[in-house]
Subunit: 317 residues, 2 copies
Amino acid sequence: MYIGFSEAEVFLRNCKDAVIITHQSPDGDCIGAGFGLKDILTELGIRSRVVCSDEFTSRYDFITNSGAGEEFKPETIIAVDVADTKLMGKYQEIYGDKVQLCIDHHVSNRNYAEKTLLRPKATASCEIIYDLAKFMGINISSHCAMCLYTGIATDSGCFRYDCTTSHAHEIAAEMKHCYSDINFSKINRRMFEIKSKGRMILESKFVDIMEEYLDNKLVIAAITLDMMNELGINSDEFEGLAPMTIQLEDTEVGILMKEREPNVYKCSFRSADFVNVSDICRIFGGGGHAKAAGCIIEGTLDEAKKQLVEAVRKALL
Amino acid sequence: MYIGFSEAEVFLRNCKDAVIITHQSPDGDCIGAGFGLKDILTELGIRSRVVCSDEFTSRYDFITNSGAGEEFKPETIIAVDVADTKLMGKYQEIYGDKVQLCIDHHVSNRNYAEKTLLRPKATASCEIIYDLAKFMGINISSHCAMCLYTGIATDSGCFRYDCTTSHAHEIAAEMKHCYSDINFSKINRRMFEIKSKGRMILESKFVDIMEEYLDNKLVIAAITLDMMNELGINSDEFEGLAPMTIQLEDTEVGILMKEREPNVYKCSFRSADFVNVSDICRIFGGGGHAKAAGCIIEGTLDEAKKQLVEAVRKALL
């Protein structure tokens, strides 16, 4: 059932011992939303814990340092920024069919929860949580604001992408005005600029592995397990590499293929302007946003590429 | 003489046949400010022309396509985003001592004009011009808004850097709300994402040429004339390369050295957090902002580097 802010408020004010589930391969928005909501529940005197199937990388230490929460037997199951229970990883089996409240901004949300607060036009799940806290009249601590800013900045590509709403800028303006103790540029540097030497080397290889198809309208870059071993790079360092696939002026669709296990590729799609890559990913059982989506594809590298090129060719018609 | 908005309004409403000077090596802020102000003067029925010592690159076509303005004998000389007449290039001799109005946000502004509207806390000169147009009650056309957005986005690193004010976000929120015909993400893609193949290759070389000094607190990357010839890259492609010097987590100061002519290096400084690189650049006769500044240094590459390392060492103490 889809609900609005009033019902979400009633739910949150009356819940108890909540587990907050974030999605696997966690990013700034689900981590920010999880820890931001935890801060809000704490403000309401409600105990909560943030869980994720994968570990939070050190990039997010400034958020997660506050602690994911103590162990307790959960009575409330909340999911944030999780469009599909499949994305809960190992928590799908435990909580997948028990989610009472889901707060999300993905248009592809599967409506799997008892109550879903869905705002598909919101830049980020963190934007919804900020508005909800304001609606509820809850004091937003600096830590909470930092979490929510991080999510908005991450999902908007620091206010670069199409999905950046006027309202996202309004929230950022309000935060910059109200929280002089938050070093926003330091957060942005952490999210968008800092790289490990390994990552710099990986990026420097990018130009060698990218391949142009369909009159340069499509770029595919594949990173195989062999390549990862050879470069000695761990999979953390791949986060946020997909936008590199649409750097060339003529490119409309970019696909980053990462071999997860032999002949299984996680594909991250990006589009520059008009192609809806979420539609393409759905063909392969995936989904996401119009300009950023993903899917898993199996087969040899050549077979997989052939299928991808064909699907993009049709989308470009 | 420093002036406020009221006096700037009186000046603009009463001026005639204006030349608007932008700085050499033009960037999004001076181009946006120049063409944005031109649109405002047109709205007031005043003829104007935007001039620059260097050519505007094709990256800014969407701004400059409206035309820099016809030839006429100027009666009014305005400079935008120009901190020092030295930065006017070939126009210094012609107009350097005749500037009647300067609109600028550089704290290092030399106060060379008859009247200077200086707002050192503004994110960009475009932010000042937007506020001035609002103050004057002038209708801001879509083209003008696009120009001014571009300047704000450019100088703030798309809202990433420290200099991004709450007000910059407010303006972006207002623009996104009012101008549904502007494709902001396309502008951002043009400013921050699109690269030529040559630029991608250049960036891929970066990790090889960067050198770490002072316990990795300083990174210097030098691009010599030989290197440029070898890679067949023209100097356009270097714009915006300086931020790559502070990508590593521990780096506090980054310097990009570009050989302009044999043994003459244009040095672009960036700082990550606390060092004021404008202060360092002033030692070498340069200047700029606390976190982004520049200077020219002469000598062999080794001598130049030695001087730079020494200056940064002192600043880090």
